[in-house]
């Protein structure tokens, strides 16, 4: 990785492009999740797209930013609420007008946070990153 010595992450061009495209990637993930019952897609795919946007942040800005995001209370709160809602909706066999959207949104949050956490763990435990510090 040819990083600038006085800054973490990639170059200024990559950071600027990441800052501009991040919202669109997140929006596309939410779009695919919400339209899962009428078009191809669904909660899992939307969650993976959201995890990819978080991975994008991490590759561009370095792992400190990503770790801060992973340990933020917003993410923990969202994942906890989503897990409880998912468990509740499945175990009581909730079947209403918005059951697809509710289950897909909960699955999106869980999958996005889980895959992003797996990526963070892989990067944290890799040897080459520890040597470069």
């Amino acid at each position: 990785m040819d990083t600038v010595s006085h800054e973490k992450g990639m170059t200024l061009i990559v950071k600027t492009v990441t800052r501009m495209t991040l919202g669109f990637i997140l929006l596309y993930g939410i779009y695919i999740t919400l339209n899962g019952d009428v078009s191809p897609g669904g909660g899992f795919v939307g969650g993976v797209i959201i995890a990819l946007s978080l991975v994008h942040i991490m590759l561009a800005f370095g792992k400190e930013v990503a770790l801060k995001r992973l340990h933020s209370y917003a993410l923990r709160f969202a994942v906890s609420i989503a897990s409880l809602a998912f468990l509740y909706a499945v175990t009581i066999r909730y079947h209403g007008d918005y059951s697809h959207i509710a289950i897909s949104l909960a699955e999106m949050v869980i999958v996005g946070a889980g895959l992003f956490a797996i990526f963070v763990a892989l990067v944290l435990s890799s040897k080459s990153d520890k040597d470069s510090e």
Binding site: V38, P40, G42, L52, V90, H100, E107, A121, S128
Partner: protein, 191 residues
């Protein structure tokens, strides 16, 4: 996007001859890419060739009229490609081709022979490729809109008929997330 949801006629899913040509071309591409992935000297080239195999599988799903699976394969392939490139970055792991090559070749050939013979015995009983002998899924296709109200049959299966499968899948990811949060918290405090 009408190809996946609105058709309830099962006989539409039988493949045409043109599709078979495309499938065979994509399969040849995937076999070539996987041979390159095994034989490449550079680790990064191997990872890129694995990504090419995944993109070929995505195109095969598209030709087989499964756009849900194609999107899933594409997205997961990108994520796993990033992880593989990140994991093999700045790393040189040469294969040790010397020594015991006779034993290695014997093991490989015997394993391939056993696998192929078992696969031949097992795949002989399957229905022919492209024929629609769907006993279970016909119930889903007939009842999906009436039972769940979802126009996408795949989504109705995932979140309604097979919701317990999805619950287990989410439980796996949730457990991984909790474990990683618990482990990486210590690193965050020390730094």
């Amino acid at each position: 996007m009408g190809s996946s949801g609105h058709d309830c006629d099962v006989s539409d899913t039988i493949l045409e001859v043109d599709d078979m040509l495309e499938i065979n071309l994509i399969l040849l591409f995937m076999i070539a890419a996987s041979v390159i992935a095994v034989e490449a000297k550079d680790l990064l080239s191997s990872v890129i060739a694995v990504g090419a195999v995944g993109i070929g599988l995505c195109m095969a799903f598209l030709v087989l009229k499964a756009p849900d699976l194609a999107i899933m394969q594409l997205v997961v392939e990108i994520l796993s490609l990033i992880i593989l490139i990140r994991a093999t970055n700045d790393r040189d792991l040469p294969f040790s081709a010397s020594g015991r090559w006779r034993f290695n070749t014997f093991v490989t050939v015997s394993f391939v022979a056993v696998f192929l013979s078992l696969a031949y015995a097992a795949l002989k009983d399957l229905p022919a490729f492209g024929s629609s002998r769907m006993n279970v899924s016909k119930v889903y296709i007939d009842n999906a809109i009436a039972a769940t109200g979802s126009k996408n049959v795949v989504a109705s299966i995932i979140v309604n008929f097979r919701a317990y499968d999805t619950l287990g899948e989410a439980a796996i990811l949730f457990t991984a997330l909790i474990g990683i949060l618990a482990i990486s918290r210590k690193i965050g405090k020390n730094n």
